[in-house]
Structure formats: C-alpha cells, structure tokens
C-alpha cells in the first residue's frame, strides 16, 4: 500500500521538478541565430571550398596523388626549352604547362590531405560554404589558366618539338652507327694483335657514353620537374 502512495508522490514531485526546469528555460535567451540574416563568423582554419591559386602551380601532381577520392585531375605538357614560364611566388622555376587542372568539388571529402604536400602552397581551403549549384557538372571547377586553343596549341607544338627531337636523335644515332661501322672495320684489320676482351670493354663503354648522352638531353628538357622534385612532406604550420 505504501508503494502505491510512494509512486504517486514520486510521480508528482519529479514531474514538478521537470516542469520547473522547463519553466526556467522560458526566460533563458535563445541560442539559435536566424541563418540567412545573421551569419556565424567561422574560425580561420575553416575547411570548406578548395581554392587553387593557379599562377603558383608547377603541375607536380602531389595533391592529386594525396587525394583519397581522386577528385583532382591534372594534365601537364612539358614546356619547350626556349619558353620561359616565369617563377612561382617562392622562387621555383616553372617548367610545365598545366593544360588541365580541374577539381570535382562534388567528390571532394574536405579532408585537406591535398593542402599539406603542395610545395608552393597554392592549393588551400577557404571558408566559403555556400556554393551549391543546380547542375552537378558546374561543381567541376576548372582552374587551368590556358584558354582551350592554347591548351591544344601547347600540346601540338610540344609534339612537334618531340618529333623534331626524335628525328634529330635518330639522325645522330644513324651518324654514330655509321661512324662505329668504320671504326669496326679499322679495328678488324689490327684485331689479331690485341686480346679479345679488351675490345669488348671499350665497346660497352662506348655505348654507355652514347646512352648517357641521350639521357643528358632529356634531363635538360625535363629539368623543370625533377629539379623541383619537392621534398614531399613540408608542413605548412599555421
């Protein structure tokens, strides 16, 4: 019987305590803000929309590799040795035409993994969060600064340059082969005098020098990208 009245008493007392709490909250000022009119100011490390400052980009593809969802697509074309692409803000020489650089912000997961490995700190996240679109492919941001014809044109003249170089190399190789042929003939006459192996050694050395030679001129052209091979973990502390 006493449990009966205890129940009633605890019901009434706890209900009234609860109502006292909510009544008190009638006079507490509201914590909510009216969004479109009043906007919350965001901290400066806010991570919302990706921004790409194109004239600093050297096309090193570090950010595209670091992105877990592959939402950054970059295509670069090597610049011709004579063309000068200018310097990035922190003094690195640019050597690659970035013909395509688009970020699919719809796929981006805002994890900021692309911002850290960038050597020239040209990709970072701004605090803009109102960028919704009606069509989904408007969300693919194209940052490349070259106009479409320039992109095609860059590609074309790079192929042309490539073809020239290949032809040049072929000619040089042919000349070298011809020269080597005479050498063999000359060596053939006085072969009995010298033992077998010494001949082979200079042979191989010759080919080495030759291949090194071709490698060197590749290097000159692509010096842009491996010289600036970024030390990949350069952290940007705030």
């Amino acid at each position: 019987m006493s449990q009966y009245f205890k129940n009633i008493w605890s019901a009434i007392s706890t209900v009234s305590i609860g109502m006292k709490v909510t009544f008190k909250h009638l006079f507490v000022p509201a914590v909510t803000i009216q969004y479109p009119d009043v906007k919350l100011e965001l901290p400066e490390r806010e991570r919302n929309r990706l921004y790409m400052n194109m004239d600093d980009c050297i096309g090193c593809d570090q950010c595209a590799r670091a992105c877990p969802v592959n939402c950054i697509e970059i295509e670069t074309v090597k610049s011709l040795p004579d063309e000068d692409l200018g310097k990035t803000s922190n003094g690195k020489r640019k050597a690659l035409w970035v013909t395509k650089f688009n970020i699919d912000i719809a796929k981006c997961c805002y994890c900021q993994l692309c911002v850290f490995p960038c050597p020239t700190e040209c990709i970072y996240m701004t605090d803009v969060y109102e960028f919704s679109e009606f069509k989904r492919d408007n969300l693919i941001y194209d940052y490349a600064t070259l106009s479409p014809e320039e992109r095609v044109q860059k590609k074309v003249n790079y192929e042309k340059f490539e073809a020239e170089k290949a032809a040049q190399k072929a000619a040089a190789a042919a000349a070298a082969a011809a020269k080597k042929a005479e050498e063999d003939k000359a060596k053939a006459e006085n072969k009995e005098v010298k033992p077998e192996n010494k001949e082979i050694k200079p042979e191989t050395k010759a080919t080495d020098t030759e291949s090194k030679e071709t490698k060197t001129d590749d290097k000159t052209t692509s010096s842009g990208n491996n010289e600036t091979k970024p030390e990949n973990k350069e952290d940007k502390t705030e």
Binding site: A11, I17, K20, T22, V31, E46, T237, E238
Partner: protein, 383 residues
C-alpha cells in the same frame, strides 16, 4: 451449462491468431539510421526481432586496401560518424604499434583531450535521441545545444565539425589553437551544471524511469558471451574499461573512475542503467579533460609524422575504448604503402546482435527503448 463452457474453450483454439509481421523499416524515425527490424508481434507483444542491416554498407575494408596509410584516415571518420575523432585515434594507435614509433608527449595529451571531448559529444547525441525516443523532446534540444559548443571547439582546431581527419599516424595535423585550452576550460565549467539539469529533467523523471527500468535486462554472462563492450557491459555490472584494463596512450596518467550499473531504479543491466552509465561517464570525461589541460606540455606536434609509411610485413590487433565500446583495428601489412587488410571490430555491430535477446516478450514501444539504450550508429554497424 458445462457444455457451452466446454465448447467455448474449443472455439478458442479454433480462433487461431497468427502473428503479425511488422517491419520497423529502414526509414523509421527512431531506428538511429537505416536499420530494418523485422518484428514478429503477438498483438503488441514481441515474439522475435530480426535485424536486417547492410543498408549503409560502404565497404570501408575494400577502400582501405586501395588507399595509402594516411589516406585511410578520412575513411575511418565516416565509420562511426558521431565519434570520428575516436575512430582516428584507434587507427593511429594501431598503425603506430605496427610501425613501433613513439609519439611526442604533447600529441598524446591533445589526443586524450580530443578523444574525451568526442566521447562527451557522442554521449550527448545518445542521451538526447534516447529522450526523444521515449517522447521527451526538450532534453534532445538541450543536449544538442551543449554539443554545439564541443563542435565549435573542434572546428577551431582542425577546421571541420563532424569528420575531422585531425589525428594522423604519428601526430596531429594542426597544433592547438592559441586560446583552445582556455575555451575548453570554460566549456568544462559551463557543462557541469548542465548535466545536473539534464538529470532533473529526464533521468529521475518518474515516467522516464517507468519506461526504462526493468526493460531489456542484459544479464552479465550473456553480455560477455555476446561480446558486448562499452557502456552496455558496464551497465550490466562489469567494471571493464579498456582505458584502465588494456591501457593505451597516456590514460594511466589520469585518475578517473569507471561508472558501473548498480540497478538503482530496477535490476542491474536494464535500459535505465545503460542510460545512466553514460551520464556518469560524461562527468568522468570532464575530470580527465581538466587534468589533461592542467598537465599538457609544450612541443612540436608534427615531428613524429613519418614522410612515407611503409611498415614491415606483419599484423597487429589494437583496440581502444570508443564511446560505444571496444573499437578494434586488425591491420595486416604486406610491406607496401597500402595496407593489405584492415578489419574493424565495430562496437555497434557487436552490440546490436543482442537486441533479439533483450526484446523478447516486451511491447513495441520497448523495442524503441532498448534500441535507444544500445545506442548504435548505423555507419559503425554497416561500415
């Protein structure tokens, strides 16, 4: 006279009542996500509960095999999206054990502070939605108002509010904001009386007690056999918390005690105990945060982050005490940059399996009460 009484009973047998299958389907206001519970009902009494999961399966384990070690971290965030800081913490501890690297002292303190703040935020969601499931909407709003303060603390340090990618393997992505410690201190002082207010409003409310005491009682031996961990296991009376029983990071530096369910409002291990253990745990987390703020040393946080993570061929199973239970990472590495296999022991996946045992013989309304007290997150269940 006896005859018609007699045949009345026979008509009763003929009056065969078959069970009603009620689908508490993937879209239901109180299944905490896309979970389908197939209830076999006898009138309103429950005969059998068959959970169907997999609606939110995004194959985290297949993704992890294609990513490099640092790239997996944004994916761990999306598993238990209400406690993503702790998922990262668990993953980072596992990979650091595999690489066997030592993390600077300051990073350990930052991780503990962030982890405990995330535990409070996750418990606030659990308690708030639990109140809303039982019918009291106001505590839900109060809990989310306090959780906003924690989210803005996270937003200040790493820029994101829900999925952070903040704790990296070997360190953290940003150092603490200069007035982060002060604001956390203010939050701790602000939040303590709010717990008391929540207790007045909901925990000791007679109707709430009536609805949750002696509902879904989980005896201790079935709990261990079902592999239940976290607040559910502690509510069933076992003092088992990985922060003390299998210490990782620097939890042994702080003194805090582990609340255990004692059947104050009904029997040990009922829904009320599971609810109240979470409330007490929030207070303990506040104590940890206070001590951590007091003792945090200076130092660089990104010094131990390895440039390229290529662990030696091997495997590790490491576990941490997430807000919902034991969060285990079993990582097998084959010496390359990508993990060979990452298996996650998700606490909600294991805790949900016991719902059939708990709900037998209760009413439809109790399924919601028991499901709310188990506190599952479907991202964690389906991975």
């Amino acid at each position: 006279m006896a005859a018609d009484i007699e045949n009345k009973t026979t008509t009763n047998e003929k009056l065969k009542t078959e069970e009603m299958i009620l689908n508490m389907g993937p879209q239901h206001p109180s299944t905490h996500g896309v979970l389908r519970l197939e209830l076999q009902l006898e009138g309103e009494l429950i005969v059998n509960v068959k959970p169907h999961i997999g609606y939110l399966h995004r194959c985290f384990e297949k993704h992890a095999e294609a990513m490099t070690y640092p790239q997996v971290i944004p994916y761990t965030d999306r598993m238990d999206y209400l406690a993503s800081m702790y998922n990262e913490f668990g993953y980072a501890v596992a990979v650091e054990k595999l690489l066997d690297i030592k993390v600077p002292e300051r990073v350990e303190y930052i991780r503990v502070i962030m982890g405990e703040l995330q535990r409070i935020a996750s418990h606030l969601v659990a308690l708030g939605t639990y109140g809303a499931d039982i019918g009291a909407v106001t505590p839900f709003l109060f809990c989310f108002r306090d959780r906003e303060k924690i989210l803005s603390l996270f937003e200040m340090t790493c820029g994101a509010r829900l999925l952070y990618n903040y704790i990296w393997v070997g360190g953290v992505s940003h150092d603490l904001h200069h007035d982060f410690l002060r604001l956390t201190k203010d939050f701790v002082d602000y939040f303590r009386p709010k717990i008391k207010e929540l207790n007045d409003l909901l925990s000791f409310n007679k109707i709430f007690i009536e609805r949750t005491a002696n509902v879904g009682i989980l005896p201790l031996d079935t709990a261990i056999n079902y592999g239940i961990t976290g607040p559910m296991l502690r509510a069933s009376g076992m003092k088992w918390d990985l922060r003390k029983d299998d210490p990782y990071s620097i939890y042994d530096k702080f003194d805090f005690d582990i609340p255990v369910g004692d059947g104050r409002m009904g029997t040990v291990g009922d829904s009320w105990d599971r609810y109240f253990v979470r409330v007490l745990e929030m207070e303990q987390s506040l104590r940890i945060i206070e001590q951590a703020i007091a003792q945090i040393p200076e130092g660089d946080v990104t010094s131990a982050i390895p440039k390229r993570i290529k662990p030696v061929v091997g495997q590790v199973y490491s576990r941490v005490e997430g807000p919902r239970g034991e969060l285990g990472y079993f990582i097998i590495s084959n010496g390359t940059v990508n993990p060979f296999r990452v298996k996650v022991r998700a606490p909600s996946f294991v805790n949900l399996a016991v719902i059939n045992e708990l709900c037998k013989g209760h009413l439809v309304a109790d399924v919601i009460t028991v499901l709310g007290s188990i506190d599952i997150v479907l991202g964690d269940v389906d991975r």
